[in-house]
Structures are given as structure tokens and as C-alpha cells.
């Protein structure tokens, strides 16, 4: 049973550049959520995708955008990178309207460094 996968593992960019991160959900899951984790903090919710639509969004600017593909995989795009965007980006998968159990499973993360 394949778990949640993310790529790349690490990424170094400079200010002003754009970045795309990728996530494949756990087998059987249809919903992908993205989180940003700054050093020493808990993960913060960015947005969630289901049926190729953004269903919920956290308190992040429009520079953060996403996409979900028909195979449920997802991309996170960040434009005009700032130093403060340096963080661990985590992807989580779950079942939408999953009934009594709505557990989220996380990938290994992508560590983004902005110089």
C-alpha cells in the first residue's frame, strides 16, 4: 500500500523565483491538503483540493496556488518567492466526507530554502 509521496525532497531557490512542489496521495484517497511548517512551529494549513477544486484555504496570499489532477495527485505553486517562504512543505491525503473516520496521512515533505 503506497503511502503519500512528495517531490522533490529538497529545493533551493532565490528570491523572486517560482517553485512547484508535487504530491501523490495514499492509495484510495481523493483529497489532498497542503501545509507549511516553519522552523520550530506546527504545520499551518495552506489549502485543500478535492475533485480538482480548491475547497478550503488558510491565511496565505494569492502567491500560493495549487492544482489537482484527475488521478488525485496535486501541485503547490509559489510565485515571487520571499525569504519567509523557506519552510518544510507537507502534503496530506484523506478521504473527502470520509464518514466516521477522517484521518489525514502526511508525506515526507519538501524542504524549501529561499536565498
Amino acid at each position: 500500500d503506497a503511502g503519500v509521496t512528495q517531490s522533490p525532497t529538497h529545493l533551493i531557490k532565490t528570491r523572486g523565483q517560482q517553485v512547484t512542489l508535487r504530491c501523490s496521495p495514499k492509495s484510495g484517497h481523493d483529497t489532498v491538503s497542503w501545509y507549511q511548517q516553519a522552523l520550530g512551529q506546527g504545520p499551518q494549513f495552506i489549502f485543500q483540493y478535492y475533485e480538482e477544486e480548491e475547497r478550503q484555504r488558510g491565511n496565505f496570499p494569492d502567491r500560493f496556488s495549487g492544482h489537482q489532477f484527475p488521478n488525485y495527485s496535486s501541485e503547490l505553486n509559489v510565485n515571487a518567492l520571499l525569504l519567509g517562504d523557506s519552510a518544510l512543505y507537507l502534503c496530506a491525503s484523506s478521504l473527502f466526507a470520509g464518514g466516521p473516520r477522517n484521518e489525514q496521512f502526511f508525506g515526507p515533505g519538501t524542504r524549501l530554502t529561499v536565498l
Binding site: 485543500q48 478550503q56 502526511f106
Partner: protein, 112 residues
């Protein structure tokens, strides 16, 4: 939004000792999960426990939803238990899936 507080922020134990990690939340929740984050950043699912008590080996957890807290118990701690423990809750305001709100985490160090 919902607030999640974890305590203590840091915990140092001698191998073999027991510990209790606490998570308080400010509103009723549909979902509560405990995670262990390893040094490489991977969040490992420990418990899905919106209410009640569960046990898995040396770990157990209890959530008292009416009093808005959850406890994670670690018995006979091992050095491999070291890392950051997160509590995360979901309040499903608008139906179906919603976001997880995390606490700031508890950093556990188990000394040999």
C-alpha cells in the same frame, strides 16, 4: 479559529521513564490526531482519537471531548521516542473535510 495548546513545551526523560503529554483545545472537534515528527520531518500517525481511549504498544491516548483535552502516554520510554509530538484537531464547520489545526508541539528528548 480553534486554539490548540500543548504542554509541556519540552520534556527530558531518562530511558525507561514514563511521561504524559497534554493537548487542550478551545472548541468541540470532529477529529483529533497525535503525530510524532522524526528528525527528517516526517509526521508519523500515532492515534486518531476524537474521543475515548486507545492503546498501541507502549503508547496510549485518551481524549475527553466534553472537557476539551487529550493526553498521550508514553511508557518505558526509549531513545527512539525522541522527537516532536504534535496534537492536531479538526473542526468541521462547513461539512465534510476541513483543515487540521496543530499545536506548537512538545519536544521530547530521551537520554540513554
Amino acid at each position: 479559529g480553534i486554539q490548540v495548546e500543548q504542554s509541556p513545551p519540552d520534556l527530558i526523560l531518562q530511558e525507561g521513564a514514563n511521561s504524559t503529554l497534554r493537548c487542550n483545545f478551545s472548541d468541540s472537534v470532529n477529529n483529533l490526531q497525535w503525530f510524532h515528527q522524526n528528525p527528517w520531518g516526517q509526521l508519523i500517525n500515532l492515534f486518531y482519537i476524537p474521543s475515548g481511549t486507545k492503546q498501541n504498544g507502549r503508547l496510549s491516548a485518551t481524549t475527553v471531548a466534553t472537557e476539551r483535552y487529550s493526553l498521550l502516554y508514553i511508557s518505558s520510554s526509549q531513545t527512539t521516542d525522541s522527537g516532536v509530538y504534535f496534537c492536531a484537531v479538526e473542526r468541521r464547520d462547513t461539512g465534510a473535510n476541513s483543515k487540521l489545526t496543530f499545536g506548537k508541539g512538545i519536544t521530547l528528548s530521551v537520554r540513554p
